[in-house]
Symmetry: C2
Subunit: 251 residues, 2 copies
């Protein structure tokens, strides 16, 4: 079998944040699969076909890409950020485990990318400078009680927290509930860093204390980092402040 | 003031995983600072001076780089992986907060990179496919009790866990103690993924159950991912197994 599947992370948006390995895999693919807005970021290559699908059709998309690869094509699955962080790599693995036997014989390579929290942290300073975690606020695939348990455990244990999938039209109240939950475990002055469309044209980064976090705008294009009790915000005249979490623990 | 400081993540090792933004920042710098083995990975540019320092001299290195930038130079601080993940970005921010007043007036840009856990996860499948955390096992800057509290909180709440700085000559017992701690909170069959020198010539990836994790070799060049109760290992004839954590939560 000559087909193969590359699962390619294209980072947060800026072309200069796509790794050369990812660019090469995309250039060599005969078929590209992915969510439409991610495919739109990939430079055109002659003879390549593109198969856009909706955000929520992940298992169908994985199956279509695996079928094409099993038929002998060189296929790329395009994902924003990093494929392994709340993106397509897990869906592809799940499809392989439960799908057609010949899918297990395919060469599959995951190409890592700059995930949203790393791009946002770089813009803000170093808010993930000590132990940290990443939590998806989507309750499509896990009960909301589990989300709250994880927020409480992470805040209680002193992790900085990156929130993915914070809000959408179908999930309007979860972000407010998350801030309310975090406020029971963290002081009101803990810095919260909001990143909107980081590394894209509409980029905005805002830092607000946890007590005021619920009043900040957020969207599907947001990633949000909750600092720890140790996180510092350093003001700078004429420049954006630097938010960072010190490497040294202090109680 | 015309000087500036770029804090540049060069990823896990492979040149194809260095972002174009990072490469451009390195090419434009007049002075490079960093840990020697990271500087050795940066292509030479004429007229550039290099200032290597030891792994443990992070605050002195940050101060030297900030002084050079404040004197008008274009300076790059080189770090492996991502600068914001157990690397130099937090040390630079800390130096700016507590250092000379003119350091606060400097333009500082952090360039994100592929951090070790993302490179390892990509090689293994998608073990960080659901909520996860990153913990440094170094007890140089935090008490060991805090490390164990965080391991227990993360395992108890169902996070996959990436371990950074797992072991060194000066810290020989901490990794074994971490596995013992995790074994009190997780079943013995939970998959543990060992990555040695990922994306470098000596790369090795091994998957073992938690019960056997303590017998696996590890070094300063290792990153280790502990799966969750849901993490799956999919065997494939003639190919490496795929380890992944499903997107859907199941109790």
């Amino acid at each position: 079998m000559s087909g193969r599947l590359d699962v390619v992370g294209i980072g947060p948006g800026e072309a200069a944040l796509v790794t050369p390995a990812a660019s090469a895999a995309l250039a060599q693919a005969q078929l590209l699969y992915g969510y439409g807005p991610y495919l739109d970021r990939v430079p055109a290559h002659p003879g390549q076909s593109r198969h856009a699908s909706d955000n929520r059709e992940e298992m169908d998309r994985a199956a279509a890409a695996l079928d094409a690869a099993a038929a002998g094509a060189r296929v790329a699955m395009v994902t924003g950020g990093d494929p392994g962080v709340f993106a397509m790599a897990a869906a592809v693995c799940e499809a392989i485990e439960h799908g057609k036997p010949d899918w297990r014989a395919l060469e599959v390579q995951v190409h890592p990318g700059i995930t949203a929290m790393l791009a946002l942290a770089a813009r803000a300073g170093a808010p993930l400078g000590h132990d940290f975690c990443a939590i998806s606020l989507s309750d499509n695939l896990k009960p909301w009680e589990v989300v709250e348990q994880r927020l409480a455990a992470a805040a209680g244990a002193g992790f900085a927290i990156a929130l993915y999938n914070p809000i959408s039209r179908a999930r309007p109240w979860q972000l407010g509930a998350a801030f309310a939950c975090l406020s029971r475990h963290l002081p009101p002055e803990v810095p919260v860093i909001f990143g909107h469309a980081v590394a894209r044209a509409a980029e905005q980064v805002v830092i607000a204390p946890l007590a005021e976090a619920a009043t900040q705008p957020a969207s599907m294009a947001s990633c949000i980092i909750i600092g720890t009790r140790q996180t510092r915000v350093v003001p700078r005249a004429g420049l954006a402040p630097l938010a960072y979490t010190p490497r040294r623990f202090s109680a």
